[in-house]
Each structure stands twice: as structure tokens, then as C-alpha cells.
Amino acid sequence: MLALIKKDFRLVTTGKYNLVFILSYVPFLLMVSGFDSRAKFMYLVIVMTFAYMITYTTFSYDYSNKTEIYIESLPVTKKDIVRGKYLFSILIFFISVFYASIYMGIINLILKIDFIVFNLSVVIGTFIIYLLLMGVALPIYYKLPPKIGNFFSIFVYVFLLNMLTFNVNDLDNVFKMGVLSNYGGIIGVVIGIVVFIFSSYLSVHIYRNKTR
């Protein structure tokens, strides 16, 4: 499974376009927001969108290059392939947290502004939304034809992001997501993990029965 995760890391870090995306993504989003350090969601949006897009990119590469058959013929099982993707999406989330924190810290230093660099409650809240998002989006990618799957996943992404964060207006009391925010977000994380694990079983079942 480690080889599968390494493969996905190689996919998203090889090539000029990927590197340009990785380097320009944060400044681009900040520019779109008008470098407004009061924009409370920027950290959340940067981390979540980055992790989501990177995970999506790996599916997109496999689809456009028709590599699925090749990967499945390597010494791995279908279960490994799906579990590897789920694990990759989690690893990429934490890398995104690190990446966003470093990047925004540098921007703060250079531009002398005050973006949120790291805030545990924001990270926990973002993680909950991310687990729910991937828990829904990944089975869709495995079940539906790639183009339709992509459309539905983007729909789920926009819907979840709006629904769960529309009332965020105070960073000290971030993510008022009902029961999900109880006990400092622990309930939310547990629910997120349960959804994510259930989703991985569902995706394995879907992928095993897929006919090409």
C-alpha cells in the first residue's frame, strides 16, 4: 500500500504544471480574497480545497491516462488501491495544514499582514468537514463515470462547505456545527472518522464489482 501512496505523491509532484499549481495556489486564493486578513475562512478554504484538489488530481491522472488497468495488474489488490487512496487523502490533508501554515506565515512576514497561520480549532473543524466531504466524494468517484463523478463531487464540496460553515463569524467560536462541535469538536471528529471508514468499505465494494 505504501507503493500506492508513493505513486500518488509522485503523480502530484512531478511536472511543471503541478509545481506551478502548488506554488501559486495560496497567493492566488489570497489575491482573489483581496488579501483581506479579516477573511476568517481563508485558512479553512485553502487547506480543504488544496487537499481535495490534490486527491482529485490523482483520479484525474488515472482517468486521462487509462492507467487503472496497469495499476490493478501490479502486486496489489483492489482493496489496497482503495484503502491507499483513502490514506493518501488523509496524509494530504495534514500536509496541506503544514503547507498552508508555512506559506501564510511567510506571506505574513513579507506583507506585514495578519493571516491566521495555525489555529487548532480551525484545523479540527476543517478536518471534520474534510472527512465528511471525502467520505461522500470518494465513493462517487469510484461508482460513477469520471466526468459525472467529478461533477457530483464538486457539487458535494460546494454544498458541504456552505452548509457547515455559513454561520462561522467568530474564530474563537469557530464551526458552530451543532453536535459536531461538542467537546471541542471531538464528537465531530469521531463522526467524521466513522463516516470515512464506512465510506472506505463502500468504495472497496464498489471498486471490486466494477466492470471495465
Binding site: 492507467t67 496497469y70 490493478e72 502486486p75
Partner: protein, 283 residues
């Protein structure tokens, strides 16, 4: 080495693989022939567990191909008819991606094949011709000490020079008697040069799975004038083509040759293409 027993798979669209069985022993090349759409790729996908079988048994190295999937695939080299690589990668990058999957990866062997095939590892895959991609695929398949090489139409779409080169490579590989090669194609002339066994599939059914010697002994092409045939003789042929000037047919049981006057007919050993043509016709 590769043992298929009563393998079946039915698709919603109606096509099916119907209880097929055959064996490939270590140290031999088996050609897997059949017209387009006969089910060759489907069988290969079933062997590689890319498709779920409905029933039957697939054993590779005496192991169940699902229970021991990782272990089996670690010992299989595969080559498919199309490129399934990341086109923006160089061959070196692609190799680095594939290498960690195999426990017995051998870089020296890989480099040896890359040199032998005159492939520059820093070339992007999208810049390669079909023949070069096939050679690269073969270099990957041969660089982890595979004991079974499975190839799906490796020579289709290649020019005769490339095809001949690929066949020479396969011939060299098989000199190591620990390796077996299972090789699907519809270009039967390729097999006549290198195959020890041939399995013929048509419409999802096995027509035969025999050694080349057995095939050459079993079948005959009979040619003769139009007035020689009657209804009883016609029934003896597996397939027959009649014109105003005469007939040409495939006879399965050479014992029946005695029913024809030797002076009146021309008897020839058939090519695999003849066998495919006439059996397809009758089926």
C-alpha cells in the same frame, strides 16, 4: 504454472466466457488465438483479476489467483496492447513509480533491456512510438524476475520489423526454462514461429488447446475439384469454401483422408490462420 478450470463469466450485454479450461506448463510459450471479440482480453482480465469471474478456478503457480493475488502478481510480468502509462512522465519516472511495487525488482536487468531496446529513459512516454512503448512495457515486465509473462496482443499495430524483434525477445526469454509465456494475438503467423502450445477461443468457447505438433498432425486442408464432393463428404469438413472451380476445406480427423482418392485431391498442412478461418466459419 497457469491452470484454468471451467472458467465462466457472463456480461449484461450478452457476451459470455463459457466454462473454458486449459493449462500452461513452465518453460513453454502458449499462444492464445481467436478473432477480434472472441474473448481473449476478457480471459486475460479474468486471469489478472481485473474482472470478477462468475465461476470456475484460476490457479497460478498452484495458488488461487484471488487468495494469493499479491504474491502471484509479484511473479507475473504483463504487457497490454495499449499504453497504460502516465504519458507526461519520462520512462525513468515511470520506472521509479513501478519499482517499489515489486519485491524482486532488478535495476541492472531493467537498464540492460533499455539499452538493448535502444530506449532513452529520459524521453517522455508521450513522445514514444507504439513500438517503443511496447518495448518499454516489456522492459518493465522483465525486470522483476517474473516467472510468468502474460501478454495481450503485444504485436498488434506494430510493423513487421518491430514484431519480429518482439518475437525474438520472447524466444530469448523462454530459453530460461523457469519462465512461461501466455501470449494472445490474432496475428497467427507470429505464433507459428515461437509457440509451443496454442489455445483457440471463439465466441467465448474454447475450440482447442493443443501443442503445435498436435495441431499440425490433427488438421489437414483438402483441395479438389467441384465434382468430388457429395453430402456425406461435405459433412466431414470442419469448414469448407466452395467455388465454381473447386473446394477447399479443413478436415479435423485425418483418418478420413482415405475417403478421398489421393490422386484427385491436394492435401496440405494448414496454417493457424486456415484453422481459425474455417472453424470460425463453421461456428
Amino acid at each position: 504454472m497457469l491452470e484454468i478450470k471451467e472458467l465462466s463469466k457472463k456480461f449484461k450485454e450478452g457476451f459470455s466466457i463459457n466454462s473454458i479450461s486449459f493449462n500452461l506448463e513452465q518453460g513453454y510459450i502458449m499462444g492464445f488465438i481467436g478473432p477480434n471479440g472472441a474473448g481473449k482480453t476478457t480471459v486475460i482480465k479474468l486471469i489478472m483479476n481485473l474482472l470478477k469471474k462468475d465461476s470456475g478456478e484460476i490457479k497460478i503457480f498452484d495458488l488461487d489467483h484471488i487468495e494469493h493475488e499479491r504474491e502471484i502478481k509479484n511473479r507475473i510480468g504483463f504487457v497490454y496492447d495499449e499504453s497504460h502509462f502516465y504519458e507526461d512522465f519520462t520512462m525513468r519516472q515511470m520506472k521509479s513509480m513501478i519499482q517499489p511495487f515489486y519485491t524482486k525488482w532488478d535495476n541492472t536487468t531493467f537498464e540492460k533491456y533499455m539499452n538493448e531496446f535502444q530506449l532513452n529513459p529520459d524521453l517522455k512516454i508521450k513522445k514514444l512510438s507504439k513500438g517503443m512503448k511496447m518495448k518499454f512495457s516489456l522492459a518493465l515486465a522483465l525486470s522483476h524476475n517474473a516467472e510468468l509473462i502474460i501478454m495481450d496482443e503485444p504485436t498488434s499495430g506494430l510493423d513487421p520489423v518491430f514484431r519480429r524483434e518482439i518475437l525474438d525477445i520472447l524466444y530469448n526469454i523462454i530459453q530460461d526454462e523457469k519462465v512461461g509465456i501466455f501470449f494472445s494475438t490474432h496475428i497467427t503467423t507470429d505464433l507459428e514461429q515461437i509457440a509451443d502450445y496454442v489455445t483457440y477461443i471463439n465466441d467465448g468457447n474454447i475450440i482447442f488447446s493443443l501443442s503445435m505438433d498436435e495441431i499440425m498432425e490433427k488438421y489437414r486442408i483438402i483441395k479438389g475439384g467441384p465434382d468430388l464432393l457429395d453430402e456425406n463428404l461435405r459433412k466431414l469438413f470442419l469448414g469448407i469454401r466452395e467455388t465454381k472451380v473447386g473446394f477447399e476445406g479443413l478436415l479435423e480427423d485425418i483418418e478420413n483422408l482415405r475417403l478421398f482418392g489421393k490422386e484427385d485431391v491436394l492435401i496440405e498442412k494448414p496454417s493457424l490462420e486456415d484453422i481459425m478461418y474455417y472453424t470460425k466459419k463453421v461456428n
